[in-house]
Symmetry: C2
Subunit: 399 residues, 2 copies
Amino acid sequence: MHHANEILFSLFIVFVAAQIGAEIAQRLKMPGVVGEIAAGCVIGPSLLGWITPEQIASGTPLDVLSEIGVVLLLFSVGLETRLEDLKKVGKSALLVGVLGVLLPFAMGSFWAHSSGYPWDKSLFVAAAFVATSAGITARVLQELGALQRVESKVILGAAVIDDILAMLLLGVVVSLQGGKGFDVSHLLMVLAGAIGFIAVIGWGGSRVMRWNSTWLDKPSSVYSPLLIVLALCLGLAYVSTLFGLAAIIGAFLAGMIASETRQQHTLEQQFQPLLALLTPFFFVLTGSKIDLHQLANTDALIALAVVTLIAIVSKLLGGFLGALSLGRIGAAIVGFGMVPRGEVGVVIASLGLAAGVFNDQMYAIIVAMSLLTAMVTPPVLAWLLRRSVGSTPTQESEA
Amino acid sequence: MHHANEILFSLFIVFVAAQIGAEIAQRLKMPGVVGEIAAGCVIGPSLLGWITPEQIASGTPLDVLSEIGVVLLLFSVGLETRLEDLKKVGKSALLVGVLGVLLPFAMGSFWAHSSGYPWDKSLFVAAAFVATSAGITARVLQELGALQRVESKVILGAAVIDDILAMLLLGVVVSLQGGKGFDVSHLLMVLAGAIGFIAVIGWGGSRVMRWNSTWLDKPSSVYSPLLIVLALCLGLAYVSTLFGLAAIIGAFLAGMIASETRQQHTLEQQFQPLLALLTPFFFVLTGSKIDLHQLANTDALIALAVVTLIAIVSKLLGGFLGALSLGRIGAAIVGFGMVPRGEVGVVIASLGLAAGVFNDQMYAIIVAMSLLTAMVTPPVLAWLLRRSVGSTPTQESEA
């Protein structure tokens, strides 16, 4: 019974800390998500220690709740995104996705090599600079009611492409470790699998739904459509991990499919309480993973500043150049929207630590960089979006 | 990443199994919850093994989701229960609670002693016969729209009293093991603490809310009332475990407090998607804990039949006699409503196993008994409730 008490307490603490953080952030005119991440940093192991490192490790109940939270969040973002809209911005999204991977990877490997890493390890370090975490940007866009803007569509399309490329890159750099060669045909098969999955689900699913979504009404309860799409969301989140993609990509596709149904509006309403309960776990845990102790010396802080600057500038530049067709402010919104690395950088850093490529300090720096990019983005994005209202093209009028 | 995949898969499987089970049960004119428990038995370790014993152990992500599910369920039941209504049935509820503990405890200890247990161990075994698990009955009453009936109020009030008495009894029997005496003054303090907690929260909280609940509107977001009551629900669930009570008692009190607010109806609506996502985890896990292998011999099956019969008859009799003022059918509804032991019996059996009082077979029998009572109750209760519509007093007209 003692164990159960402890978990209930941690649920309560995480949830309440998120609400207080979000409330403070909003009163300071910042997106609530910034406050939630900051709250995680405060109650986490680095400062108050109200939640312990064991409680936020991978596979723990809090970690699983946080995963469910971000999966539902990306589903709800997909629910506001139609395949048609993504197609319209396909070319920009592709450019943003590709440049937003190449520039951070190139700049990251040069930095790592110049700090004394051999080339094969430098490429591994650089892989941690690459993957955008769509969760944080998506939440800011949602909070500001900006998901229908053309920049948002470009960001979401690019995030899907970004995830495919980052996965491939990780496959390459992992196989390069220890001087082994890598198997091009295997990588091509992985690539084909991932693209095939996205194409079949995204394109095929949307078609099927547009053609006939009355079967959602068949079962007996009022909440049946919700139950069916929840199952779809969990199922596609799982299947996308089988193709080496992040779970949130599958959830996003599930949402995009559901956006074609007649129940789309009802589902949006019904998802709000789910997001209210579960997304705070994701953002608070993100913040609580920053290990301030490893960064408590001048060298580490300087390295962190340099790494973060490279991570921000390289991604911003990639996104900006890729989206120049949207005008300068639009391109800047897209560029900043791609900046947050969030949990993906953390995962790569953990792999690097396990493989002996990273030492503890490099690990802490990469994790802190991932989270700093996540914390820097929301206020800048909010500011740019407010500034640009009316001055850039939108697909639909603002609500 | 592999670990995360596995958990996503188990979430998907549990959720989908629950929906399929519920759908089948409803088409067979049974409450959906029966199908969810049965689905758990099918996909659990005993039959298909799609979820493993390690995945449903205490403190695992699935277990925590199941705990959150039943906490939210009891909150939502509280949300449909006003303190005033409980007060009106106070005398019946007290009688039902007391008799419903004494009869199963007495009959359980005689059975255990007659099967060869010494008296101190018999009392421990009997303690597993005692505690009603309100979750299952609450779900059936909610599914059938019967929460406003006077029988439902009696059951809910009695469940609170039952939980206090069961907790005290467990304290006594644990301290009796190994021939140690027990500390009456300590037990009295525990009793006073539990009653004090319930009185202060239930009575005080309801008063405060009735007097002024506009502060729920103060913070900035539309979903603020929901966020505040979610925090209240998690917080009181935790605090009630500090007083030795089940977490669901605190959640129920939180819901009862929230039922006094102006937002009561909105909150009920907003809780539906939360219940839809999370309660299936509770019911599927309940079913998956039945270990059919331990019961695959004639002796065990006979013992199980006897134990289950004693558990049902003793509780039914206690509830029936306590609620006779409601008429015979009303008293039968209350009696059957108190029958399910659910997870509380499982917890006590685990304690008994750990303390060496139970052997593996006795453990399996007690767990199976707890779950059989949970599976028998819903169809009987549904049948009685349908039969009695119009023939027994209700506090408000049926919706």
